[in-house]
């Protein structure tokens, strides 16, 4: 793949609406946020987090903005700050929420509405391929 092709590719990723491809840039930005999320895999981590979220977050070298986004459960912002969906999801799982709940939250609808959308065939791809044209 030539340099130009790789650069085209990156631009094309950004053209997909409502989508953040987990690129190296996002990975670098979100590393410690994601490592924090990974600790919620274990019961000790979940308990410590639930007991005092702020104190638990302060154990990790995350940015203040990232910590606030965790505390406020700002799902889209977490992605914008380098969170990876599989990692960020662990916060939701710790809250005993479903993937459809955060799917709804991230797309501005309720969990019920999200479920109904999925039952009726999912979000249409038409109009969702590109920010700059609506095929």
């Amino acid at each position: 793949m030539t340099k130009e092709e790789k650069q085209e590719l990156r631009k094309a990723f950004e053209d997909i609406p409502g989508t953040r491809v987990f690129t190296p840039e996002r990975s670098r930005m979100g590393y410690h946020l994601n490592i924090f999320c990974m600790t919620l895999n274990k019961e000790e981590g979940r308990q410590a987090f639930r007991e005092n979220e702020r104190a638990y977050l302060d154990r990790f070298p995350m940015t203040e903005e990232q910590k606030q986004a965790v505390l406020n459960r700002e799902w889209l912002k977490l992605l914008d700050l380098g969170g990876n969906i599989y990692y960020v999801w662990k916060i939701a799982a710790c809250d005993r929420k479903t993937m459809q709940y955060i799917g709804g939250k991230m797309s501005g609808i309720t969990e019920e509405e999200f479920k109904e959308m999925m039952l009726s065939g999912g979000r249409s791809i038409i109009g969702n391929r590109s920010k700059t044209s609506d095929y």
Partner: protein, 280 residues
Amino acid sequence: MAKIVGGIGCSHVPPVGIASDKGQTTDGYWSPLFEAIPPARKWILDQKPDVMIVVFNDHATSLSFKMVPTFAIGVAPYYENADEGYGPRPIPHYEGDDQLAWHIAESCILDGFDLTIVNELDLDHGFSVPMTVMFGEVEKWPVKVIPICVNVIQYPPPTAERCFHLGQAIRRAVEEYDEDLRVMIAGTGGMSHQLQGERAGVINTEFDIKYLDNLSGNNIENMKKPHLEYIRESGTEGIELVMWQVMRGALDERVKETFRKYHVASSNTAFGVICLENDN
């Protein structure tokens, strides 16, 4: 001599495993899926597989961003089910064919595939859900397993074409193995789904059906498709479909489709199962 006796493509949506474990396979939401599966299971058992190679991805369960192998092969004699936060699934652990796995690892590395060799790996839903779909509720799995774990979470994953070529290398290795084994290979994950962002929930049935058709038709189209198109058309997590190309690469150039089920939606995902047998 060992040989590849068939390939399976199979989504690995977590709730499918949960539904099976909780005995909800006949309730309204899950029945269309579980009712359709028995012929696939029968076909699989009819091939009398000794070993199942399962190409899957770990979902921030046993691996983390600390170390992200592009391709990892499990060479352990057994594997546990991972605890993904609500206890391990109440299904049997897995017996690995460590000897064949080592043989494949050695052969592929000498062939220029830069595999990571893994001796310990708890397996998450990416692995266990296809096992449930393929074999149902069992006391003991009727096959030994070889897990092949692919990075599809950190961009860039391997290309579909690289995955296909790995499948070819796996087949060569299997066919050079002296024991008389019947080996199957499953590519898992997909089909179209996106978990993240404002576009969460996107499903592209047309794309999925075309992908399934192409497996026994013009698979070159699947194999040559760039990441961009997988992601744009089938969602950020639809990229998992590159893992099916490892399976496809391990089969003959011509294959026959012996089973297909496509279902929208299981949780946030289009669910697909396909069975392929060599036709050369």
